[in-house]
Amino acid sequence: MSDKKHYKITVNGKAEDVIAEPRELLIYTLRERLNYTGPHIGCETSHCGACTVTIDGKSVKACTMFIAQADGKEITTIEGLGGPDDLHPLQMAFKEHHGLQCGYCTPGMITRATKLLEENPNPTEEEIRFGMAGNICRCTGYQNIVKSIQAAAAEMNAAKEAAE
């Protein structure tokens, strides 16, 4: 039973074909088969959020989804948000405001924060803390993460206004 199957997913706009057992967790498909090593494996028990990716417009912990469930879905990882030469405003803000120390949680933090700001472009500090509650950081004490997200929100809102 449970032979390997053929799955098709789209990662950061690129169509990917995967041959895997249905029980394979999406985080392993992304990291080990497709080499998207941005999303990290932290707790692997649905708590820490280091593996957070965006799937069809939802922030999802990729350690808690089977590849079979992800078949046909559009997935965005941190690699899809920006690269070294064109950082996303959130990536830039985390860099400038020291929103990380060891950096292990950062890809999940930023991926989650993109969705948070999409849903709520002007969050209060309390809304940021509540909206980021599925992502754990063991270094920063969160203060600079909150600051980074506030700074990115201001930057993104200003850019949006300038464009209008």
Partner: protein
């Protein structure tokens, strides 16, 4: 953390789901958001040789608001939180959903999964008992309804037959003041104790009260006695004390990593008193 191998199904209609359940009996499990089941499978505490993913089954999402409120089983906690009509008609739903898990889990976790799983730690079962909800179950012989207050038999044991699927929850539009109060160790944890309270106020008197508790027994606990202790009173300190005492007679917590029995009983009392006070202030 790799779960045991399974056969995966993604049917597109209920008859397809029921056919698989009929073929494989309790070797098959339906999965909604999977955020209770997948962790259990990874720990190999749940073995599911035949896994039926409900995500493509048509007709199981959506919220209908009227004198009766109906919520499709595949409606997520995030959708409950975002639904303006539901927040107005039954604000206790939103208040409770906001206290479940964390944002990522709420995008995936569903009402149907939460109530059907039978985990005493889940918040929706107690809430459904407070609201006197009915669950719709569909099986090979058609559809039936079961009251939430009659559904739970023991931890993970419910009135649902192996070949049935829970497709919707429905309840009369609640009246009066409400509160869902939950004590947990951290975001994402199950309740040490939680209370769902709906109170109807007539003048200065409590006309009716409905009270249910979460994670203080191997099932949710609807405490008829606690509600009765408030009914007809002005919900003063003595009445709250009597309701807490009545509730404590109905729960049966066990010691675990959330604390010893005496602590849980203490927290249950504090949480219920707070919930009653908040519900009364909103009544």
């Amino acid at each position: 953390m790799i779960p045991a191998a399974f056969e995966y199904y993604r049917p597109t209609d209920l008859s397809g789901v029921i056919a698989i359940l009929q073929e494989h009996g309790d070797d098959a499990r339906v999965m909604a958001g999977g955020h209770s089941l997948i962790p259990m499978m990874k720990l190999r505490m749940a073995e599911v040789p035949h896994l039926i993913d409900m995500q493509d089954v048509a007709g199981l999402t959506g919220i209908t608001i009227g004198d009766t409120i109906t919520i499709g089983a595949m409606t997520t906690q995030a959708e409950i939180i975002d639904h303006a009509g539901l927040a107005e008609a039954a604000p206790i739903m939103r208040e409770a959903a906001l206290q479940i898990a964390d944002p990522q889990v709420r995008y995936m976790g569903t009402v149907g999964g939460n109530v059907a799983n039978g985990d005493p730690g889940n918040d929706m079962p107690g809430l459904m008992q407070c609201l006197d909800a009915e669950f719709t179950l569909v099986g090979p012989d058609g559809e039936r309804s079961v009251k939430a207050r009659d559904f739970y038999e023991a931890a993970y044991m419910t009135d649902r037959e192996d070949e049935e699927v829970l497709t919707a929850v429905s309840f009369a539009k609640p009246a009066g003041g409400y509160a869902y109060e939950k004590q947990k160790r951290k975001i994402g944890d199950y309740a040490t104790a939680a209370a769902a309270v709906q109170l109807v106020k007539d003048g200065g008197t409590c006309a009716s009260a409905s009270i249910a508790m979460t994670n203080l027994s191997d099932t949710p606990i609807y405490s008829d006695a606690a509600g009765a202790a408030l009914t007809g009173t002005s919900v003063d300190a003595d009445a709250v004390k009597a309701a807490v005492a009545a509730m404590l007679g109905d729960i049966d917590p066990v010691e675990d990593n959330r604390g010893p029995v005496a602590f849980k009983r203490h927290v249950a009392g504090v949480i219920l008193a707070r919930a009653i006070e908040r519900a009364w202030s909103r009544a």
